[in-house]
């Protein structure tokens, strides 16, 4: 029996590693050495000092929020079971209630820190969101989070009650399927996306899309300028639902056409490099050991099929996500670096890329070179200094200035 388990475990580890290797491919040349970038020279000493000041408090808030979350979930794991008597919903429904209340408590204990962060953003003119909007909007938005959690718990608890301690293998697969489904349909349900009304922008986008071999992906603009001055863009969707979305703050005149082209090419590169399907693969790779960990951790409470195990499972899941966030961020940064590289190859305009990243530091107050621990735990993108360095490296390789 032990040998069988060992064999299954070894096979799973081997499969995991093989899949991770397959997903790790990148268009960034192997062994690319990024040149050193002097952030004070590139971004300016005053801006760097300002971004460091701005980020410092946000990092403190992040640490405090993480501690508050773990503390609240630890207390919930200890005492949350008492609320099982407040449910008339059967074991799975009771598990949903305990899970939702756990997240509600986390939201509640993190709320003061969120408000301090909002005050800080407003003070630096990065956010225009109101305090009441943040509180009541966050409260109402919990409903969406609760739906996602309820679906996940329905799958996990249903399988655990049916299959016992082996639920985690099909469970991870089903959850991955649900994530893929959400990714597929979310572009259709995403509110407030509009067609761009600048024909020149659309023409440039179409040209870039053709060059990257991903024609036919719609471009949309999201209006966020009433709540933030930060500039951003993103790519999402799968297959027919693929979209590229620009925040309207990118189009308010602070960024030139060439800089916007770099952003467009970067987002298109996410689609041309299949980063979103790959992200589903990575989700599966992280979900599998995570689900196994939940199985092992909740054995003392009867396993994931029992509602009383859910508060503990929340704590374990939160800790798992925190511990694995450096690895997940590493994956994300690889994809972002690849998108940057492909954007440079498409636009052949490293100077525009440099200007874009310098402008990001000024408009979003992102620290060009954050502390190492923050880089590991928080940065889903290469730092702005690394992105400028990549533009330099691409220019050096291709003989462009």
């Amino acid at each position: 029996m032990t040998a069988l388990r060992f064999a299954i475990g070894a096979a799973l580890v081997a499969a995991w590693l093989a899949l991770a290797w397959l997903l790790s491919g990148s268009a960034v040349p192997d062994g690319l050495e990024l040149p050193h970038v002097d952030v004070s020279t590139v971004f300016g000493r005053a801006l760097v000092a300002r971004t460091e000041r701005y980020e410092r408090l946000l990092l403190v808030i992040w640490v405090l929020q993480a501690l508050a979350m773990l503390g609240a979930l630890a207390v919930w794991a200890r005492f949350g079971g008492r609320y099982a008597s407040e449910s008339a919903a059967g074991p799975i429904g009771t598990g949903m209630l305990l899970g939702m209340l756990g997240l509600a408590i986390v939201w509640l204990v993190q709320l003061p820190f969120s408000l301090v962060a909002l005050w800080w953003h407003r003070r630096h003119d990065v956010s225009h969101a109101g305090y009441l909007d943040t509180v009541f909007g966050g409260w109402a938005q919990l409903g969406v989070t609760f739906v996602a959690l309820s679906v996940a718990l329905l799958v996990v608890m249903g399988l655990a009650r049916w299959l016992g301690s082996w639920w985690w293998i099909p469970g991870a697969a089903v959850l991955t399927g649900i994530v893929a489904l959400v990714l597929l349909v979310s572009p259709y349900a995403y509110p407030g996306l509009e067609r761009p009304n600048d024909p020149g922008l659309v023409a440039r986008y179409d040209r870039l899309a053709r060059e990257e071999g991903v024609s036919g992906i719609p471009l949309r603009v999201e209006k966020v300028s009433d709540t933030t001055s930060q500039a951003n863009a993103f790519a999402f969707g799968l297959g027919p639902s693929r979209r590229v979305v620009l925040w309207d703050t990118l189009l308010d005149g602070r960024f030139g056409e060439r800089e916007v082209d770099v952003v467009l090419a970067h987002e298109l590169a996410h689609h041309s490099s299949y980063h979103l399907p790959k992200a589903i693969g990575w989700f599966a790779l992280f979900a599998l050991p995570g689900a196994l960990l939940l199985t092992l951790a909740t054995r003392s409470r009867g396993g994931m099929g029992e509602p009383l195990a859910i508060p503990l499972a929340l704590l374990v899941a939160a800790a798992w996500m925190l511990v694995t966030s450096p690895a997940q961020n590493l994956v994300s940064r690889r994809d972002e670096a690849e998108a940057d590289w492909k954007a440079l190859s498409t636009t052949r305009d490293p100077e525009a890329a440099r200007r874009l990243f310098r402008a990001f530091a000024a408009t979003s107050l992102g620290d060009p070179s954050p502390p190492t621990w923050a880089y590991l735990f928080l940065e889903t993108h290469p730092t702005l200094a690394q992105r400028v360095a990549m533009a330099d490296a691409w220019a050096a390789r291709n003989g462009v200035r």
Partner: protein, 421 residues
């Protein structure tokens, strides 16, 4: 050891109903026009009353008691608004007098002046705000309903106003007012009177929203769809605070479930037209849905304490619906069900407005005290019962028309036995 709590004394403003439900078609047809002189007089009377109420307010602040003469004048005004509102809403038939001094089929008894607390008197209008909100959703007072929160009342149509509009057609057709609708209007009027009396310093007793408090109490005839309300008042604050986000998964689930329910109802409609009966399987499927909606609504409206299940199983929730098995239905009623449903839908919307206000007030109270005020719980419970009956009627679970009575439950056999002769 459990303490026995003494029964609270009767409210100083009590609703008395002596109406025989008969209506003269001629006066019903011209009701609004006939009331025009009364409305002009009510405005003048009201202006004088509100000015004198300020004097009474000062008197209560200093003497802790309203002067008897002024109290009598204001009591007359409150009774007059009750008579006039009842006349307008068709809760009563005779043309009302102009002084409020004579008995009327829908009337209130008001106790003589009694000592009042100074602190409560000082902040009377502020304290009355929740009662005004509820009164305006009930729309049962010419005084209270028009003075505050008109938007709340008008959004739902106001219970008494809706009864008046629907009752106008019913009384014209049958020369009688349906008992349930008359009782609903009378309840709204009674609550409006208590709110006005509280605001005008006639009493320091807060208005009592408990449905069905009248002399005599309203009837609730037997109905194939009935509700049972658990009396537990405790509400854990954590579940109260996050009540709305907690039911979002239920709302999504019920929305998805509603699609096959509609399909099942269409099939049931065709079968019922052909056979005069809804198939048992479809009846049970749709009944589970109606029960699930009631469970979730009860939780959302803070009427129910625990988190509800998803499947609408009978007996699975403390606020539960009993739905009688499928029975024969007249084919004509089935054929025109959509048309027949319209009045009930209007009344259901008005009851929904009342339930919404009761739930918001109850939510605030439960968040502070950890308990749901029983009067608000029962009021929202009446709305749940009526809305469940409307849904059941719409989805062909029963041929019996919804009963708009403000009574919550039929008296239990034990209570009937214990009642004095």
């Amino acid at each position: 050891m459990r303490r026995m709590s003494a029964p609270s004394p009767p409210h100083p403003v009590r609703l008395v109903v002596r109406d025989d439900l008969r209506r003269r078609r001629l006066t019903v047809f011209f009701r609004l026009l006939l009331a025009l002189p009364q409305l002009v007089w009510a405005t003048l009377f009201g202006t004088a009353a509100f000015m004198l109420a300020f004097v009474v307010w000062l008197a209560v602040l200093f003497e802790r008691r309203a002067p008897a003469s002024l109290h009598g004048f204001l009591a007359g005004y409150v009774r007059y608004t009750v008579h006039l509102t009842a006349y307008l809403c068709l809760a009563a038939d005779p043309y009302p007098g102009f002084t409020g001094g004579k008995p009327y089929p829908v009337d209130v008894e008001i106790d003589p002046p009694a000592p009042q607390g100074r602190l409560g008197a000082a902040f009377r209008l502020l304290l009355a705000l929740p009662a005004f909100a509820l009164a305006s959703s009930l729309a049962g007072s010419m005084a209270a309903g028009s003075s505050f929160g008109g938007s709340v009342g008008s959004a739902a149509g106001g219970l008494a106003i809706t009864v008046g509009v629907l009752g106008w057609f019913a009384a014209l057709a049958r020369a009688r007012m349906p008992r349930g609708m008359r009782d609903a209007a009378a309840f709204a009027i009674g609550y409006g009177a208590q709110t006005t009396a509280y605001a005008l310093m006639l009493t320091d007793r807060y208005p009592d929203a408990t449905p069905g408090k009248a002399d005599p109490p309203p009837e609730l005839p037997e109905h194939p769809v009935s509700i049972a309300i658990d009396r537990d008042r405790k509400r854990p604050r954590l579940l109260v605070l996050f009540r709305f986000p907690l039911v979002v998964p239920h709302l999504l689930w019920l929305t998805l479930w509603f699609v096959p329910v509609v399909l099942a109802t269409v099939v049931a409609w065709v079968v019922a037209l052909a056979r005069g009966r809804v198939p048992g399987l479809l009846h049970r499927f749709v009944a589970s849905f109606v029960r699930a909606v009631t469970h979730v609504s009860a939780f959302l409206l803070v009427v129910g304490r625990p988190f509800p299940g998803f499947l609408g199983r009978e007996g699975s929730y403390p606020i539960d619906l009993t739905i009688a098995p499928a029975a024969r239905q007249p084919r004509l009623g089935v054929l025109f069900r959509g048309f027949l449903l319209l009045p009930a839908l209007l009344l259901s919307s008005a009851y929904g407005g009342v339930a919404f206000v009761a739930a918001v007030l109850g939510w605030c109270a439960a968040l502070v005290t950890g308990r749901m005020p029983p009067s608000l719980r029962d009021l929202a419970g009446v709305s749940l019962r009526y809305q469940a009956q409307v849904t059941a009627y719409a989805l062909l679970l029963t041929a019996r028309y919804p009963d708009s009575s403000p009574a919550l439950e039929r008296p239990r056999p034990l209570e009937l036995e214990a009642a004095p002769a």
